[in-house]
């Protein structure tokens, strides 16, 4: 590792510091002290951060195990970021490559921005998981494998001629073979469970082992298991027993001589929890209803990766939240718009294919000028694409994917926790300007998690908006399309309000009256007015934040949505290497902030990394005539910080197009696991 790698955000890999220690950044001080549990002398190594990846069969419960480890880590007080990665198939054939599911967690004693480029520790539950994930484990990394599952049959399934755990082919890594399955069975010998059932607890045994290795608190998991299997006490007891057995095994075995400590990260005082993007988004919708005083109506059709928002919201009926599982996406948004007409906060949640179906109704909402929140949790496209993988390729669909001139404000959250705030901002715009708003999340934000500073409800934005209650015309009539001179928002009169009966619809409206009009001048006027209304939202957007600590950057990087973490991590690396770079991250994609053109013009080069083929770059080029350098990838996975840092360095050094020079240490070839 060269000095150019600051090793701040994403751990690099070096040769092991001791015994079976996971690789760690040499720049970090490592304290070693010893303890003697159970008579064994074990040392404790202090690390500043760790990236762990758990990989197994879809049926092995890796997502649950990862989620629990995340909870333990969060309650311990580390900063963290997660990357679940699972196949679209619910149960691909057992033990095959397409069936591999993984969960990566990065946790640290300082603030971090990404789930980590590459794991320091890889836990594999079978040969398929090994085959799919080994290319990502840097040399020297710790590899823990369930040796029981490396049977001739399982090896043959994924094309291993001999057992890699025994044939010396894994010599480059620190391999620890552990018979996880048989030890779980042993631990549960008296549980009364059959072999098959008992075996299923091996993920809890593994979690126990990891909990010991990283000094995680365990009470939370015990409580969780008790709650989860409330109605099946035997299963709860078995899982807890397996969990404890795994923990005790770590403490007593000679296979692991070292355990690791990652101190809590300093965080601003306050109350925290860990939260996923979809959960934060769902809470944002509940909060938007509470803060606006409007009943929430969600119309949705299940689709990965957005369904969890529907699931979450359906639990919150006590907040007056109505959830409607529609017959299709068109009905979902139609019902939401109908509810908005009735005075509710209409919301529809979906992913890219669903947005395509909703396009015509979004146009109707533009025409009827009713508030409506459309959530697009983007996934890989086109068509059914990569349902469980992330991408940012719906930006242009959100901006332009409708017939006619149909401007719609577009907002994008930057992190899992930010999904909450972005939802409130999208609602503010929808209610203030009486317009549909598209909120662009993505699969990475949706399933990823991070610690979240819990806001106080009464300090959230006040989203109340006034309904019309009396005629607004000069002759005592009600003019539904009479506008607020400042926002150009029209009056919102709800059915039930006497004297304000009116008709709206998809045909062009006459100015003010809203009656059907085919008048050419009126159509020109109304088209421009609808555009002006959306453009005018820019006046309510705060000045764009430019992150340039040294203030002398000549290159700016601009991003939007979930790339915030990797871009930020890469910028830290660049700065630690002595270079300067400015970071701009957009939340408002339509309208763009009023000061953005002027900001971009200040820099010699503007780089725009995106998980699409350059959609924002195209918009920026068109709008500001800036020669944006577009850096793109669509692998279904977030950017790696190291990869971006190399790109930024090339742009800064004027070496774009030549081989990258920044030593990225942990960088590895493109992950193949996701393409299986």
């Amino acid at each position: 590792m060269t000095g150019t790698n600051p090793g701040i955000s994403t751990p690099g890999i070096s040769s092991a510091a001791s015994g079976v220690a996971p690789s760690m950044d040499p720049a970090v001080d490592t304290a070693v002290h010893s303890s003697a549990p159970g008579g064994l002398v074990k040392s404790v190594v202090e690390l500043d951060r760790v990236v762990i990846r758990l990989a197994g069969d879809s049926g092995d419960g890796m997502q649950l195990t990862g989620g629990r480890f995340t909870s333990e880590t969060a309650s311990f007080g580390n900063d963290l970021s997660t990357l679940p990665n699972f196949p679209a198939e619910i149960r691909a054939p057992t033990g095959t490559l397409p069936g591999v599911s993984s969960f990566q967690l990065h946790f640290a004693d300082h603030d971090i921005m990404t789930p980590g480029d590459a794991p320091d520790v890889l836990v594999v539950m079978n040969p398929a998981a090994l085959k799919a994930n080994l290319p990502d484990l840097p040399g020297g990394g710790l590899l823990i494998a369930d040796s029981d599952e490396f049977t001739a049959r399982n090896l043959a399934k994924v094309g291993y001629d001999s057992n890699p755990l025994e044939d010396g082919s894994l010599e480059k890594w620190q391999l620890v073979s552990v018979p996880l399955t048989s030890m779980t069975l042993e631990a549960l010998a008296d549980s009364g469970l059959g072999k098959k059932e008992a075996e299923r607890s091996k993920n809890m045994f593994t979690l126990g082992l990891l909990s010991w290795m990283y000094h995680r608190p365990t009470e939370g998991t015990v409580r969780f298991l008790e709650r989860q299997f409330r109605r099946k006490p035997q299963i709860a007891a078995a899982n807890i027993a397996a969990f404890r057995a795994g923990f005790n095994y770590g403490e007593t075995t000679e296979a692991f001589a070292v355990s690791y400590e990652v101190k809590p990260a300093p965080m601003a005082p306050g109350k925290y929890r860990h939260i996923s993007g979809n959960q934060a988004l769902a809470y944002g919708i509940v909060a938007a209803g509470q803060r606006s005083g409007l009943p929430v109506f969600l119309g949705a059709y299940p689709i990965t990766p957005a369904s969890d928002i529907l699931h979450e919201l359906s639990k919150h009926k006590s907040f007056g939240v109505r959830t409607f599982q529609a017959e299709d996406e068109i009905a979902g948004i139609g019902a939401a718009l109908g509810a908005s007409f009735g005075g509710a906060l209409g919301v529809t949640t979906t992913s890219g294919p669903g947005v395509a179906l909703k396009a015509e109704t979004i146009g109707l909402a533009v025409m009827t000028e009713l508030p409506l929140l459309i959530v697009d949790v983007q996934r890989g496209g086109p068509s059914t694409g990569l349902p469980t993988k992330t991408e940012q390729s719906d930006l242009l669909q959100a901006l332009y994917g409708r017939n006619g001139e149909a401007p719609v404000p577009v907002i994008a959250p930057r992190s899992p926790g930010d999904c909450f705030d972005a939802t409130l901002e999208a609602t503010r715009i929808a209610l203030t300007y009486r317009t549909p708003v598209i909120l662009l999340s993505d699969g990475y934000l949706a399933n990823g998690a991070e610690p979240w500073s819990i806001p106080a409800a009464d300090e959230l934005p006040d989203l109340r908006t006034e309904f019309a209650t009396e005629p607004n015309g000069e002759d005592g009539e009600f003019l539904p399309y009479l506008r607020d001179p400042e926002t150009l928002a029209r009056a919102w009169a709800v059915p039930g309000t006497a004297g304000l009966q009116h008709r709206i619809g998809g045909l062009e409206k006459a100015d003010k009256t809203g009656n059907i009009s085919y008048d050419p001048a009126n159509h020109d006027f109304m088209t421009r007015t609808r555009q002006a209304k959306v453009d005018g939202i820019a006046a309510s957007i705060p000045a764009t934040e430019v992150d340039d600590p040294d203030g002398d950057a000549r290159v700016a990087v601009i991003g939007w949505g979930s790339t915030y973490g990797p871009i930020g991590a890469a910028c830290r690396r660049i700065r630690a290497s002595g270079r300067s770079i400015a970071q701009v991250h957009l939340r408002h994609l339509n309208p763009l902030p009023a000061d953005l053109g002027e900001i971009l013009a200040r820099y010699d080069r503007v780089v725009c990394p995106e998980m699409n083929l350059g959609q924002l770059a195209m918009v920026l080029r068109a709008k500001y005539l800036v020669d944006v350098h577009s850096h793109t990838q669509v692998r279904g996975l977030p950017f790696r910080a190291a990869e971006l840092a190399a790109v930024f360095q090339d742009v800064i050094d004027g070496t774009t197009g030549t081989a990258t020079t920044l030593d990225t240490g942990s960088d590895t070839p493109a992950q193949t696991g996701a393409a299986l």
Binding site: K271, R273, K317, E327, G343, I454, G505, I516
Partner: protein, 372 residues
Amino acid sequence: MTAIESTNAHVHDLGMPAPDVTTISGAIDASVAANGPKQTALKAKDLKTDQEVRWCPGCGDYVILNAVQSFLPSLGIAREDMVIISGIGCSSRFPYYMNTYGMHSIHGRAPAIATGLAASRPDLSVWVVTGDGDALSIGGNHLIHTLRRNVNLTILLFNNRIYGLTKGQYSPTSEVGKVTKSTPMGSLDHPFNPVSLALGADATFVGRAMDSDRKGLTDVLRQAAEHQGTSLVEIYQNCNIFNDGAFELLKDPNTGPMWTIPLVHGEPLVFGPGGASCVVRDDFGGLRIAETNQVDASQIVVHDAHRDDPSYAFALSRLSSQDLRYTPMGVFRKVAKPSYDRMMADQLEDAAAQQPADLDALLAGGDSWTVS
């Protein structure tokens, strides 16, 4: 209490604090405070708008509009509490001519939009106006799902067996072999019978009426409006431009009585000049037409619209053929079942009773930690 549940509390004494017009109930209360109690004594003219009616002269839609405007006041509902949602088509212009709240939406989607409105505002009287193309082609999916859900709304399906607005293509109710602009050698696809379709979706209220039969139409509309849940009323509507005379067989005073089977709950199904024809059970559990003087009176089916099993009503709907001979008119089915909006409101109430809405508690969740 959600905003909507308090919408019935309209009474405001002087000296009460001003209603909070940021809530639905507050806005409604404010309008009551300004205008006095809701006006439910309406006349037909109160429901007319200043918009010029733009249907072709002679179109059946006029007759239906007049019938609806004359009938609605008898329901005793204030016009601001009525909402009419339509799709796209000639018939779907309807809301623009009604001085109620209304939305002329997009092709086929009115049932979906109305579902969201009716489910979130059980205090409103929600109506859908749709055409045979709107409801059965592009919007077929929404129609059947709305019917099975039983949301409280009334759907008026104007069936002229043609696409009027797009100038005369055949529709999903056109008879096989229909020669139109898009089918110069005759249409090939078998039509839907909208009543059969609705019954297949287990609709709780299904009726049929003729545009020109003011009394029959009004009678079916009244029962539909009173029904809790989704009511589907198929209205045969003449398009005198593209499908003139489509229902002449039933309208003609000479042939009409011969081929029309009036449905009256509790009455035997006897019809035709001099009651010459009747409906009896066939050997396969279905129904067939018989000559009254050839069967024993006890064999004649007595109409029962309240039968829970929809197969009887379905069998009734199958008596008529594509050329409209033996067409039952009236209410096929009318059964009580909880409506979706009511059940949804009940779930919200139950949830609120079990667990108070505490946003801070929700945001904090179960697993939080404090950094000091």
